[in-house]
């Protein structure tokens, strides 16, 4: 505005005054934010290294994992928590040093950001003249920010692939790939000491796969017929009132958190199945694949039904009218005309549902078991990929033992399988849509 006053009112400016302000703000904020996030990222590593280099010689020569423990103690001291073990003056000194470094670092960060801002402002001060095309600059900046935001999705995918792949490669260096993919025994407990008996650690993932397939198959056996039939009924038979009432209710099923389904499966469905089994003389384990699969199927019903509903509605009305006018009943129209026409879309929807069933975690963690049985009997306990990932990673993690790394190998497998399913499904659905558009 000051610039404008000198030269004869805002009319002479190229852009509206607010753009000059926005430009300045953007030039200050964006570099500052970038610096800030990088600083925060590397601060702790740098400080830790500096503190370690100041530690007494005796402590520095320790192996890396012990050094990490000491570093943790120091950090705890800094935040005022109680440290395990006795008070060590060396540690105390290190903690003070750590605190000192941290305050320096924060101060330096503040000063740096302030200088940046001042620099940006002073540079802009000279450049802000009535003929500066401020709006165009601002718009260009906004455009780049928008691009940055939308590429985040790519970075997420890359991040997933890299992080999972990196740990998996470390795992496959210890356990060969073919042993993992085609081994028949899964018992990830490794011996901690050499003289320990029993747990040698076996990473044959076939039992885990069969368990996953079994549970997913049960789930699909529930979800596909029920979901498809309800979609057909809702889109072809139901009157508007019933549809308005039943559809939101079905969608509630999709909105319930999976942990709630898990609780339901473990505390309600499992006991019912076990008691019924006992009644007719069957030996059902308390964490049967059947219970987990059934409840998972119920969870997926709305998913299947809403996808097939869309697909069925996309079938042109002309096809239906034609079939009806030839004298076929409504069910014949649906079975011989509508469903075949909608089949590709339905298959795509079912594939998406399968990928969901495979990746579903909480229900199986709570209702299926841990022991990796090689069985197709739905009344027995089985384990799944997701259950194994959770059990291997919750609790103590050592990133050099195959036990922890195995979780990442399983995660990689899960990611690849669901990715393939999704790509096929999305492709099929897309192709199908184009067909009738």
């Amino acid at each position: 505005m000051a610039v404008a006053d000198k030269t004869g009112g805002p009319k002479t400016l190229h852009s509206r005054p607010v753009y000059y302000g926005t430009l300045t703000a953007l030039w200050c904020a964006v570099p500052a934010l970038i610096i800030f996030s990088f600083w925060m990222m590397f601060e702790s590593t740098v400080i830790s290294n500096m503190v370690i280099s100041k530690l007494p010689e005796s402590l520095q020569s320790l192996p890396a994992d012990r050094l990490n423990l000491i570093m943790n103690d120091i950090k705890n001291l800094v935040s005022g928590n109680i440290v395990s073990g006795e008070d060590n003056p060396a540690l105390q000194a290190a903690a003070d040093y750590y605190q000192y470094l941290r305050s320096i670092s924060h101060g330096a960060l503040f000063v740096l950001i302030l200088t940046l801002c001042i620099a940006a402002v002073s540079v802009l001060q000279n450049r802000i003249r009535p003929d500066l095309r401020a709006r165009n600059h601002v718009e260009k900046l906004i455009y780049y920010i928008l691009i940055a935001c939308s590429t985040l999705a790519i970075f997420t995918t890359i991040g997933i692939v890299l992080s999972v792949l990196y740990e998996s490669i470390r795992f496959f260096k210890i356990i060969p790939l073919h042993e993992f993919l085609f081994g028949f025994k899964w018992s990830p407990q490794m011996a901690i000491r050499a003289d320990q008996v029993g747990s040698s650690g076996a990473f044959g993932a076939i039992p885990v796969f069969t368990g996953t397939l079994l549970v997913s198959a049960i789930a699909m056996a529930v979800a596909v017929p029920v979901g498809l039939m309800s979609a057909i009924y809702l889109s072809e038979y139901a009157n508007r009132k019933f549809r308005a009432f039943a559809k939101p209710l079905l969608e509630i099923l999709a909105g319930i958190p999976t942990v709630v389904y898990g609780f339901f499966a473990a505390l309600v469905v499992s006991p019912i199945i076990r008691d019924t089994g006992a009644l007719i003389g069957l030996d059902v384990s308390s964490e049967s694949a059947l219970a987990a699969g059934l409840v998972m199927g119920v969870m997926i019903i709305p998913f299947v039904s809403s996808l097939s509903d869309d697909v069925i509605n996309a079938v042109p009305q002309g096809l239906r009218d034609g079939a009806l006018s030839l004298g076929s009943t409504q069910s014949e129209t649906i079975r011989y005309i509508v469903l075949p026409a909608a089949l590709p879309g339905i298959v795509g929807g079912v594939l998406l549902a399968v990928s969901r069933a495979i990746g579903e975690t909480m229900i199986v963690v709570m209702a299926a078991g841990l022991s990796a049985n090689m069985t197709l009997n739905p009344l027995k306990t089985v384990t799944t990929v997701t259950v194994q990932i959770v059990t291997l990673l919750v609790g103590d993690q050592e990133f050099d033992s195959p036990k922890t790394l195995a979780a990442f190998a399983l995660g990689l497998l899960l990611f690849v399988v669901t990715l393939i399913l999704n790509v096929i499904a999305l492709y099929v659905v897309r192709k199908y849509r184009e067909q009738y558009e």
């Binding site: 990222m41 709006r135 718009e139 939308s150 997933i160 339901f264 014949e332 990932i389 959770v390």
Partner: protein, 429 residues
């Protein structure tokens, strides 16, 4: 009606064939229709079963059994200047023994004391700290009972079971009966459940910590995912040129929406915890992971909202001389905002119910303290539910159901807000 012509021709006609099959075909039709109806009824029954079982086992958790004690706040024991050092436990013990002068045996006294929750002395200490003027008087105070007593009073435990199968033996049962006769034991509204953090004792456990954790986590998710999601949607829908790069982004987003949530947890563990060294089990790390997970949902909903704004508005804005950015910021975005907000709320609701990725980044730890900031170790409601569901005590089962009810309540509120927004601002062009 065709009988005569039929007979005269002496041959079977098509109409006849149709007539013959008609009954069977109508039957099939009816069966098919019934199957459809049954499928819907089956799903609705599952929904009903889920709700009934959870509400049925959970509603009692909103009440808690308390025992009334007449406590003489002995001034010789309570120094107003040093209240934290006072022996509140001893005070509770003596006043409880006073109720049962006939119990003298050491073993029996121990059994008697086990009827009280270990939180009884905290209750007393809180009371004295807020009312220091009451020292020297006798006050009557309700202190929480042990969870076994709680279960018995609520009728979850059968009193007629043989002694060996009960958690409380005959002596304790008779003591409780005496208390009941004196009306010293009664059920109160369970405030602990809403004000306490997690605890190993069911009667002292609450959801405050988990709710705060959920709040912080969702706040981070919202602050990060809403602007980024809107920006990405605007770019893809309004600015992006049609080329390979845009296609890659689009395919990526669609795929990310279908990646299992646990994989995001692995990402969080490997990248945010191990590489960037964010604090473990903090709501900061949890919020970032959930942001990555909900972003595709928000972007897809945002694009749908932008698509529904008619091109005539864009053309009008451009026609009066607005730049493309101005057109989007001043006209398209405000019109698409309700749709975007709806998508965001739905994404937030999903994030609120998400458990698996948070297990991976350590939010599953047993945390008693109520988190006060974004970097404090915390847990969230669904994880709390998971933890309680794993606990063996009978009393935790009703706590779990109650926590589920609270979680579902939040979800219902969020989803109705989304529906309300959609209804209110829905525009048909």
């Amino acid at each position: 009606m065709n009988k005569e012509t039929n007979q005269s021709n002496g041959s079977v006609r098509t109409a006849d064939l149709v007539q013959k099959g008609l009954a069977r075909r109508y039957k099939t039709e009816k069966r098919f229709r019934m199957a459809g109806l049954c499928a819907i009824i089956f799903s609705l029954l599952c929904l009903a079963g889920l709700f009934v079982s959870i509400f049925g086992s959970g509603y009692t958790a909103f009440q808690q059994t308390a025992i009334e004690l007449d406590i003489f706040l002995d001034p010789s024991l309570l120094n107003p200047n040093n209240l934290s050092g006072a022996d509140f436990n001893g005070l509770v013990k003596t006043s409880f023994f006073k109720l049962f002068p006939e119990v003298t045996d050491r073993g029996e006294k121990k059994k008697l004391l086990s009827l009280l929750s270990s939180g009884a002395s905290y209750r007393l200490s809180d009371f004295v700290k807020t009312h220091p003027d009451k020292i020297g008087q006798t006050v009557s105070l309700f202190v929480p009972a042990d969870d076994d007593v709680d279960m018995l009073i609520k009728g979850h435990v059968n009193r007629n079971l043989p002694e060996t199968e009960r958690r409380l033996d005959n002596l304790q049962l008779s003591l409780i009966n005496t208390l009941e006769k004196q009306a010293k034991i009664k059920k109160q509204f369970n405030t602990t459940f809403f004000t306490a953090g997690d605890s190993r004792e069911p009667e002292l456990a609450g959801i405050r910590g988990a709710t705060c954790g959920s709040f912080y986590t969702l706040l981070i998710t919202l602050v990060l995912s809403f602007p980024i999601g809107v920006a990405a949607a605007v770019y893809l829908e309004e600015f992006a040129p049609k080329n390979r790069f845009t296609d890659v982004i689009e395919v990526n987003i669609n795929n990310l929406a279908a990646v299992p949530s646990i994989v995001f947890g692995l990402l969080g563990l490997a990248v945010f915890l191990n590489f960037f060294e964010l604090p473990r089990s903090s709501s900061l790390a949890g919020g970032i992971v959930l942001t990555l997970m909900t972003l595709p949902t928000i972007i897809i909903a945002g694009r749908a909202a932008l698509k529904s704004v008619p091109p005539s508005i864009r053309e009008a804005a451009l026609g009066v001389g607005a730049s493309k950015t101005q057109m989007v910021a001043h006209h398209v975005l405000p019109l698409a905002m309700p749709g975007m907000l709806t998508g965001t709320i739905i994404g937030m609701a999903r994030a609120l119910g998400e458990t698996a990725p948070l297990l991976m980044i350590g939010m599953v730890a047993f945390i008693v303290d109520i988190p006060a900031g974004f970097t404090d170790p915390s847990t969230v409601l669904p994880v709390q539910i998971f933890l309680w569901a794993d606990s063996p005590e009978r009393a935790f089962m009703e706590k779990t159901s109650a926590a589920i009810m609270v979680l579902l309540l939040f979800l219902v509120v969020m989803n109705s807000a989304a529906v309300f927004l959609r209804k209110k601002y829905e525009q048909r062009w």
